[in-house]
């Protein structure tokens, strides 16, 4: 199966990349643009039973793939 992981900067963290993209979008004339957050997307191919995989991926996200000081993560298995 595949784990699809999305990592985003925490709301309280300065996100100069997001701010720059937001400015560019506004500059290009797109209307109604609000805050932009630039994060990361990872796809991990993994085998095993669903529950074990879920536990493993969650642990890996917490320990390594994201930094809980500055980032939030969420993932789905498919």
């Amino acid at each position: 199966m595949k784990a699809k992981i999305i990592i985003t900067p925490k709301k309280a963290v300065l996100d100069p990349q997001g701010k720059t993209v937001q400015n560019a979008l506004e500059h290009m004339g797109y209307r109604g643009i609000g805050a932009v957050h630039v994060g990361k997307y990872l796809e991990i191919e993994v085998s095993g039973d669903q529950e074990t995989v879920r536990k493993q991926i969650d642990e890996a996200c917490h320990r390594f793939l994201s930094n809980p000081v500055i980032e939030d993560y969420k993932f789905e298995l498919e």
Partner: protein, 237 residues
């Protein structure tokens, strides 16, 4: 004193650190490859700058799981002094040995220039003998040096006197212009609660000789050597 200078794939300030320690400070220093599991007879550990593992995923995120880092964790837990410089600071934060994290510079630009640092506390092995009121002129070279920690952690750092250096103007003022990367509270370096692990973004090893434009970085290494000497004297007594 014996210094261990760690080497990860893509460390690039390891040679400068060993040069400064050996040839400027007259200390014994050796390289320790990241796959080693022992620090030997080290009295202190330097985690040098660079772009370990290509800065993949996050700066320092992969290096912190290198085999040698288990030995560093153990060394630090016994009270041994560990100093992280630039990427070394990022690695120590990722490893949980120091609070907070270093994120992308506010300007999104890689900044490579001299900055001025104000030493906030002399109560650490890295700052103990820096003269009062002395501003340190030291170069920075980083794209991810913006120090971040949540409000609660910042309050704790202040309450415990864990902020070691702040970016200031040439006249010593704490201004936004003097902050090269957007660090909270102009923080350039911090230590842990036990005060034996420290980290900073600027490069003291690149500022140890007048020929390099500044010898102020030497004051940080001299503090560390003095702290180690007084520790070993106390042990012998």
């Amino acid at each position: 004193m014996n210094f261990a200078v760690l080497q990860f794939p893509a460390s690039n300030c390891d040679q400068d650190a060993v040069h400064a320690l050996r040839h400027v400070l007259g200390q014994s220093a050796r390289f320790v490859w990241h796959k080693e599991t022992s620090l030997g007879n080290a009295d202190a550990v330097i985690v040098p700058g660079g772009f370990s593992y290509g800065d993949y995923l996050r700066t320092g995120a992969i290096a912190r799981f290198s085999p040698v880092m288990a030995a560093v964790q153990e060394f630090a837990a016994k009270g041994g002094p560990v100093l992280g410089i630039c990427n070394g600071f990022q690695i120590l934060c990722e490893a949980g040995l120091l609070p907070g994290a270093l994120i992308r510079n506010r300007s999104l630009q890689f900044r490579c220039e001299h900055v001025f640092l104000k030493t906030v506390t002399k109560n650490s092995p890295f700052t103990g003998t820096i003269p009062d009121g002395k501003l340190l002129r030291i170069p920075i070279a980083h794209g991810e040096g913006c120090y971040f920690a949540d409000a609660e952690t910042i309050a704790r750092l202040k309450a415990n006197d864990q902020i070691l250096w702040r970016y200031v103007s040439a006249t010593g003022e704490l201004t936004d212009d003097a902050n090269p990367n957007g660090s909270l509270d102009n923080i350039a370096g911090v230590c842990n609660e036990r005060r034996n692990v420290g980290g900073l973004m600027p490069h003291p090893e690149r500022a140890c000789e007048a020929l390099l434009g500044s010898a102020d970085g030497r004051l940080i290494f001299e503090s560390l050597v003095r702290a180690l000497e007084s520790k070993s004297l106390a042990k012998a007594a």
